[in-house]
């Protein structure tokens, strides 16, 4: 793969108020560093209806700003309503990112044949044979699972000619999903009557060990890393590995500075240490980590 590395904005993982969502995407719509934006609630089906209007307006603003808009499906749909919401995104026929096999069933059978889709990072694609199975069903792009090293991603890309490959390149790592809502549990509430307490923590709620070492972050049914992952691999090596796009996961802090820093880095105008310094100055919710992409423990920060 050659040419300019794309910068994309991943789906917002946190429960932001509708007005904050509108403000964020209005800003992204005018951000020259960003090429593509993934919209939609992927974590909790209860949040989706609250944001439907804000997201629809954001999609219009983003498209008017020249961005490619892709709708992302729920990663762990748990009931009929949530499954219908995912199915509706697929059947709408526009670009869609699939984060659960349930929606793939729909893409393969319910939607017009061969409807192209993006395979999201929540799918278990760990090798080229699995990726090829998705390609047979219309997958045109894979956002690699966060656990994969660059070497593994390169092997997948080599085995899947024509597949566009995107990396989760900035943000708290989405580590786990559950049927249980940890925010509700922490506040002594039940998931079904959660009072949307997760909205108090726009980057997730930090979870520390009993020795006060920051470790994870809870976000409703999702558990993320406390550390903020950064793909700080030289663009030439990324392209050699078949990577064509870097995904930035929305956080509070200066996301315009984050996307600008990645644009400079992707264009070869800054070094890995300069990228990390720019990101650290943009107010990330935790320390930078990069272990996974280098084949190490996810929480490590290696000097790339």
């Amino acid at each position: 793969m050659s040419g300019r590395l794309e910068i994309t904005v991943g789906p917002l993982l946190f429960n932001w108020p509708a007005e904050a969502v509108r403000t964020f995407y209005r800003r992204v719509a005018d951000d020259p560093a960003v090429d593509r934006v993934y919209l939609g609630e992927v974590v909790c089906g209860k949040r989706g209806p609250l944001l439907a209007d804000a997201l629809a307006e954001s999609a219009e603003a983003l498209e008017a700003g020249g961005k490619t808009v892709v709708w992302s499906t729920l990663a762990l749909p748990a009931n009929r309503r949530e499954l219908r919401a995912s199915a509706a995104l697929v059947e709408a026929g526009g670009p869609v990112e699939i984060n659960d096999i349930s929606a793939l069933a729909r893409a393969s059978t319910g939607a017009p044949a061969g409807t192209p889709f993006v395979a999201g990072p929540f799918l278990n694609v760990y090798n080229e044979a699995a990726a090829r199975e998705l390609m047979r069903r219309g997958c045109v792009r894979l956002c690699a699972n966060i656990e994969l090293s660059l070497g593994a991603v390169a092997a997948i890309a080599r085995g899947c000619p024509g597949l566009e490959v995107e990396l989760f390149a900035y943000g708290r790592l989405p580590l786990a999903l559950s049927g249980r809502c940890y925010h509700a549990r922490l506040h002594g509430l039940h998931k079904d009557a959660c009072q949307f307490v997760c909205e108090r923590d726009p980057d997730g709620l930090a979870v520390a060990t009993v020795e006060a070492t920051p470790f994870l972050a809870m976000n409703g049914v999702q558990t993320l890393s406390h550390g903020v992952h950064v793909v700080d691999v030289e663009p030439a090596r990324l392209r050699e590995a078949g990577v064509g796009a870097l995904r930035l996961s929305p956080h509070t802090g200066d996301m315009a500075a984050v996307s600008a820093a990645f644009r400079r880095f992707a264009d070869g105008r800054s070094s890995p240490p300069e990228l990390r310094a720019a990101l650290a100055a943009a107010g990330p919710p935790g320390p930078l980590v990069n272990g996974y992409v280098h084949g190490a423990r996810g929480l490590e920060l290696l000097d790339a």
Binding site: I101, E128, A129, A155, V207, G291
Partner: protein, 316 residues
């Protein structure tokens, strides 16, 4: 171990080949292809089925061992293989169309739609459900599923959707999806002082136990952590799953098979658990009350405590 389970009344036993293709890749636990063939013959003589777990995700750029494991299982005449990886499923379907395929819990198929996809695309005949569904959700999945459903009833309790959890690799570098292990033993250490016992994973304290508190295996999601000023078991208590009390509702929901964990356990444990569930299921078939069977395995629970987990809806 396999023989202990069969002699105690198990209808089917999952085992693994001695390599990274199964999710219990521990020394001394699994079979060579020759041993597998011998155990299958033994089990057939007793009317039991042997199934092989090839349920890890194949390594990018190194898929051959998974294909070889499928070939070996097929050659040994197993009743079924249990698989999670799309690429491995595709290989098995294409190369061994007669081989019965079960879908591992690691594939994270928790909806009738997902199950329908695997059934249609790969001819999967049975699906193991994640342990995050309530009994009502299990019933709904069963109603919509074109194939058999299997549910965990005893052993470890994953509180994260299986196959969707990278907590272990974030802390230790190895995880179920990457390496077939969670909170791996080589990363575990215990600090002891006169006041407290601190279990660690890769150096991170994941609990602090007083002298009177029982210490189970330090699994990450069952550790004690701090958030928002509160310290406690934020994800799950150090408990293990026992759904004996839900056998009736699982049967009524349409569940075909119930599964107990065995491969990491001792022979005596496996024999007791298998015998208890055999007895309870037989009692259920005879229309008897299950109350006498409940609590019979309580002393086997991790840290001494057990739960029906997500099967009871208030768990969420």
């Amino acid at each position: 171990m396999l023989r202990a389970a069969v002699e105690a009344g198990a209808d089917s036993v999952y085992c693994g080949l001695r390599d990274a293709t199964n999710a219990r890749n521990f020394p001394g636990l699994n079979f060579s292809p020759d041993e597998l063939a011998r155990e299958i013959e033994w089990a057939h003589g007793r009317g039991a089925r042997v199934l092989v777990a090839i349920n890890t995700f194949a390594t990018a750029g190194g898929i051959d061992p998974w294909r070889a494991a499928i070939d070996a299982a097929a050659a040994a005449g197993v009743y079924a293989v249990i698989v999670a990886d799309l690429g491995v499923l595709a290989y098995a379907r294409e190369r061994h169309p007669g081989l019965r395929l079960h879908l591992s819990v690691q594939a994270a198929a928790g909806t009738a739609e997902a199950i329908g996809f695997y059934a249609e695309a790969y001819g999967v005949r049975r699906v193991v459900l994640p342990r995050v569904l309530s009994a009502a959700e299990v019933a709904e999945v069963c109603r919509g599923s074109p194939v058999e459903i299997e549910a965990f009833v005893f052993g470890g309790l994953c509180v994260m959707a299986e196959g969707r959890c990278a907590l272990s690799s974030y802390a230790t570098g190895r995880s179920p999806n990457l390496a077939g292990v969670c909170s791996p033993a080589e990363a575990v250490a215990f600090d002891r002082t006169s006041q407290a016992l601190t279990p660690r994973l890769s150096g991170l304290a994941i609990d602090r136990l007083g002298p009177e508190e029982p210490a189970g295996y330090p699994t990450l999601c069952k550790g004690r952590f701090e958030a928002g000023g509160a310290t406690g078991y934020l994800f799950e208590e150090p408990v293990s799953l026992n759904a004996m009390s839900l056998l009736t509702s699982l049967r009524d929901a349409g569940v075909t098979a119930v599964k107990v964990e065995g491969r990491q356990r001792g022979r005596a444990y496996v024999a007791r658990v298998a015998a208890a569930f055999r007895g309870a299921i037989d009692a259920l078939e005879r229309g008897e009350d299950l109350a006498p069977w409940e609590g019979r395995l309580a002393d086997l629970a991790e840290g001494g405590r057990e739960t029906a987990g997500a099967y009871r809806k208030r768990w969420r």
